[in-house]
């Protein structure tokens, strides 16, 4: 199994621990990664589509040349890619972009590149049985609140296009269970984390952090797990500010998806760089340490 690996800006910038963990975990799972280094940021939903579609078409064309599907580790990247790829299935539109923007570089996108988030790869390509066989440390007793955020689930017709992949609506819970941990449910697990409005309306953004993290804590979670580093930036990085806004302590560790996976695959907290988070992950480390 081999992928063109698109780590995204945040995993290479604000959340370096995500990159490290993802690479280590992939290796353990026999997923071969060839990193795409000469391609652009997706636009992250912050660029208008008339700018981002051409640069994303370029990325897809490069992967097509490599003959590989793309794997992402960020819901936002995945969401933007999926939507762009959806528009680029229109042959006329694709040709226009090839002609106007890609031809000069000798590139042309044929519309065949598949783009998958690591979470989907685990279930749809690697398979549950293989995954199970590699677990070395079932996370028994760990209470995890799965947090999807938005982009991995919506818009539904694009992110979950067919019945065959209907499971995407529950992969995160399935994975938590598969790794031996216990699911803690919150009402907002598929809601927004608030990151996208941080600039436009900070109070509202921090309010979302307080709501999701607070509810997880109240429901007894030891931590939240998320497939999106932007969710992580907000839920983890801004948790202290959300706490002071609401005047209450939450102090809930936020774990990246590959980190949780890594812990079950036998890596220790340092290898998964849990120490890099803003909210201390000590509670999680302690529980996991007891398991070994």
């Amino acid at each position: 199994m081999k992928y063109a690996f698109y780590p995204g800006c945040v995993a290479k910038g604000g959340c370096p621990e995500l990159y490290t963990a993802a690479v280590k975990v992939a290796e353990k799972l026999d997923i071969e990664l060839e990193e795409m280094s000469d391609v652009a940021c997706t636009g992250a939903g912050c660029m208008p589509t008339h700018l981002s579609d051409p640069i994303n078409a370029r990325t897809f064309a490069k992967a097509e040349q490599m003959g590989l599907p793309i794997m992402t580790i960020c819901s936002t990247c995945q969401g933007v890619f999926s939507q762009a790829n959806h528009r680029l299935q229109d042959a006329e539109y694709r040709e226009e972009i090839n002609r106007e923007y890609l031809a000069e570089e000798g590139l042309s996108y044929q519309g065949t590149t598949e783009v998958k988030h690591m979470l989907w790869v685990l279930f749809e390509d690697l398979g549950v049985d293989k995954l199970k066989s590699l677990i070395q440390r079932p996370l028994e007793g760990l209470k995890v609140s799965p947090f999807y955020g938005c982009f991995l689930r919506r818009p539904g017709p694009i992110m979950v296009p067919t019945k065959e992949v209907g499971g995407r609506r529950g992969y995160l819970e399935d994975l938590t269970q598969l790794l031996g941990a216990e699911n803690v449910d919150i009402s907002g697990k598929t809601k927004c984390c608030g990151f996208p409005v941080l600039t436009a309306n900070e109070e509202s953004s921090l309010g979302m952090v307080a709501k999701h993290a607070g509810e997880s804590k109240q429901n007894g979670a030891d931590c939240m797990v998320t497939p999106c580093p932007l969710c992580h930036l907000n839920l983890d990085g801004n948790q202290p500010r959300a706490e002071s806004l609401k005047g209450e302590k939450i102090n809930l560790p936020i774990i990246h998806l590959p980190q949780l996976l890594g812990l079950a695959l036998g890596f220790d907290a340092d290898e998964m760089q849990l120490g890099k988070h803003i909210v201390s992950t000590k509670a999680v480390n302690d529980k996991v340490d007891m398991l070994t």
Binding site: C9, V10, K12, G13, G14, C15, P16, S37, D38, V39, A40, C41, G43, A44, G45, C46, M47, P48, T49, H50, L51, P54, I55, R58, E100, Y101, L102, E104, E105, C150, F151, R154, P155, G156, G188, K191, C192, G194, F195, P196, V197, T199, A200, N201, E203, S204, G207, M208, K211, G237, N238, P240, R241, G275, K276, H277, I278
Partner: protein, 318 residues
Amino acid sequence: MEVTYKVHREDPENGGESSFSTYQVDLPEDATVLDGLQKIRDEQDDTLAFRASCCQGTCGECAVRINWRAQFTCTTKIADVTKKGPEILCAPVRNIPVIKDLVFDMDKFTWDKMAAMKPWMEPEDEFAPTENLIPESEMADVRKTMSCYQCGLCDEGCAVLPVDFDFLGPGAMVKGYRFVMDPRETGARKEERLAVVEQPKGLWDCVHCYEANGKCARGLEPSSKIMEMRDVSFKHGIKNEKVARHHNSFINSVKQTGWLDERKLVMETEGLTNIGGLMKLVPTAVRAMTRGKMPGRHEKRPGADQIKRIIEKAEESK
């Protein structure tokens, strides 16, 4: 068939505490949830308050949460909501102040927000003797958008409203879209229109969670409409200054290096003269540095020149 209604009650003249009343109702197989409510009011409890008007899914008046999902009582068949059990739970749409029982404050929920869109045209040639000549292809989307009931079901799903009730919400944005996309408003009017849509608590406060797409009673895809309006706003120049700074910074960063410089993004978004804004960021920055989390040096990527070329060309194309 025999069903059990469990209905939210709240009486402003009686302390405004909320509770549930339970009623047994015998209804025809093809009855709607509204039929049952009307029967209850007629035969069992005439104090029950709920709204309805057209009774055929065309006016948008009867939104209620049925088994916790917001929908119209007049088009929801009891047979469809009793598949898992004979109980039908009715509660007001969430996040809205309740006036009585299932009647909630539509002013705050919808009407005031719609009005904030300044939703009317004031054409200079209002009394011209003939109509505007417009190709059907340019009118169809506006017309479909105008089928919006202004029912507020999409607001019910919105991710922002629970944390910021003043957000104008997807319903009002759909109203804005109807004008932004109307070929009859051009030039200075279009710019004014965009400024209205981009007002604080408007277009840029949406978190593009795409929740509303799945909630719209008329399939109007409100979230997608918001994103389309953002594309238009980009082409006309973003009018919300802070957002404009953020986006310019973002695009410049990608243009220069092929990827995103988060550090600069934060600084430029706050505006270099915005001392108050910068001070707010300090605690996060300090915390981040002590954890070795502050993004490192921002290197130019291979391919960056091509990326710059493409973006610049696309910028010209608008």
